[in-house]
């Protein structure tokens, strides 16, 4: 019991540390972007004489952000990329077209004339007016439901998960339960058992864990596979799904819904009217606890997003060293470091999936816990206070 407390404490402290670390990185990024937008502004003025000059002005921040951000086409190699479909909903209905039409022959954003004039501004689809400037009023009704790079990568991961897990489920049916697992099945089973025995049961309790286990397993495997796919630098991977705030936010919202829907009476009582406390303390604690209800899933969202994004930025920065120094010898330092960070990223990929699931399980456990001992506990505290 105490062992698991220490473990969860470690996890939390590590998460906090990672959060601090990655937010400071993000802060740096913010500054860099500000600089970058200036740089872009200055760059666009002499756009008539691009080419050799643009080659020279290698912008690290832009390059890195380009790799981390979502995109409407999936770059494969050189000038080859997959043009993903764009799906747009406006008050004039749905529109489907290929993202190829948003690019001209120089791979620069071009205006596509559909129900509105669409153009990519900083990689995001926007409605523009006749001058090619963003039409903010019209953009309010724009719903960009495109199959972007991240969405496509997400579908790939869903497909992989379905194939792998359904085939290992079929293996149980085929081989029976008495024989030892084999092949893919034997690879998945320890992970499933790990989630059950190390994540679900210690946090939720053996009695209720079974109910939440499918949810936790799905979250764990979805994060894990997307973390791993994000580490592959070329085609089936290459997208930064689990380092995208929309992805982590969606999962965090699901956790929020599950936690609050399964919360029992005593959980709400502990939030709004903490038992065993003086009434003034109860009034004081209620807003704090209420904020905690929301900060828990928000911390989940930020932790995963920041950790994965930070890792990607780190690897890309190291690789960019070669282009900054403009010498192949820089790779002697950059590549071993990138490989080293890559190894750590492999660990982080697993760790973050584990931490997300672990904390989700912990929140569910807190929400469904039966508080039998609490009345006595508070009573004792009161007695001690009197003495």
């Amino acid at each position: 019991m105490s062992c698991s407390r220490i473990k969860s404490l470690l996890v939390v402290s590590f998460g906090l540390f990672a959060l601090l670390f990655s937010t400071s990185l993000l802060a740096n990024e913010n500054k860099a972007v500000a600089v970058d937008s200036n740089g872009v502004a200055t760059q666009e003025q002499p756009s008539t004489e691009h080419g050799a000059k643009k080659e020279e002005a290698f912008n690290v921040t832009e390059t890195i952000l380009e790799h981390i951000k979502d995109d409407h086409s999936w770059h494969l190699w050189g000038h080859t990329s997959i043009h993903l479909p764009v799906i747009v909903k406006t008050n004039k209905g749905f529109e489907f077209f290929s993202s190829e039409k948003l690019m001209d022959e120089h791979h620069e954003p071009a205006v596509y004339k559909g129900n509105f004039d669409y153009k990519l501004i900083e990689g995001k689809l926007k409605i523009v007016d006749a001058n090619g400037n963003e039409d903010k009023e019209a953009n309010k009704q724009l719903w960009d439901l495109s199959i972007t790079k991240n969405v496509a990568s997400l579908f790939v991961s869903v497909f992989i998960l379905l194939v792998v897990l359904l085939s290992s489920a079929a293996a149980y049916k085929k081989r029976g339960v008495t024989s030892a697992p084999k092949g893919l099945q034997s690879f998945m089973e320890p992970i499933i058992l790990f989630v059950r025995d190390e994540v679900a049961i210690p946090n939720i309790g053996a009695k209720k864990a079974g109910k939440y286990l499918p949810f936790l397993l799905t979250i764990f495997f979805l994060i894990l596979i997307n973390n791993f796919l994000g580490l592959i630098p070329f085609f089936p991977g290459g997208a930064n799904v689990s380092g995208n705030i929309a992805f982590t936010m969606t999962l965090a919202v699901f956790v929020f819904i599950v936690v609050n829907l399964s919360a029992n009476k005593s959980y709400w009582e502990h939030i709004f009217w903490m038992p065993g406390m003086h009434w003034s303390m109860k009034l004081f604690l209620a807003p704090i606890e209420l904020i905690g209800v929301f900060t828990k899933p928000i911390s989940l969202m930020i932790r995963l997003f920041a950790n994965i994004t930070a890792g990607h930025i780190l690897v890309l920065s190291l690789i960019c060293l070669i282009f900054i120094f403009k010498t192949v010898f820089a790779s002697a330092i950059a590549v071993p470091f990138a490989v080293f960070i890559g190894m750590i990223e492999l660990l982080v990929a697993f760790l973050q999936a584990f931490i997300f699931t672990m904390l989700a399980a912990m929140y569910i456990g807190m929400a469904t816990e039966e508080h039998h001992h609490h009345e006595e506990g508070h009573g004792e505290h009161k007695d001690l206070a009197h003495h």
């Binding site: 719903w143 998960l161 489920a169 397993l217």
Partner: protein, 169 residues
Amino acid sequence: MLLEINPLVLPDIGLVFWNTIAFLLLLVVLGKFAWKPIIKAINERESGIEEALLKADKMKAEITAMQNENEALLAKAREERAVLIKEAKEASEKMVADAKDKAKSEYDRILADAQLAITQQKNAALTEVKNQVGALVVEVAEKVLRKELSNKADQESYIKQLADGVKLN
């Protein structure tokens, strides 16, 4: 103000939408066709192993109990055998003793009979000898008397003598 936020931390509605669909799909499909059968199979296997272990323990206990029983039976059998042997021995000894006693009493009886017979025969023989000796004595005495009492005077003195003798008796 919103524009100053880094685009990295602004969620795209498109990805949120597709991710919700993808996650719900995974949750439903995997929940029904992957997690349920896999967890069921794992649980079945675990309970099977547990059962097998319990069974093995039970068997072990049974075997031990059987062994104990066997030993107890063996000990009992041994005891019984000892008792039987002892009884047989006693019986045989008794038989021998009885036979001895019987033989002795028979011997005694035969001896007694023989002694009785001997005594009777002896008595009979003695009687016969006495009778014969008596007859011989009478015969001899007759012969002596005939010779001595051939004259009348002697005869009368002898009768007188005998009469005196009778009177004295």
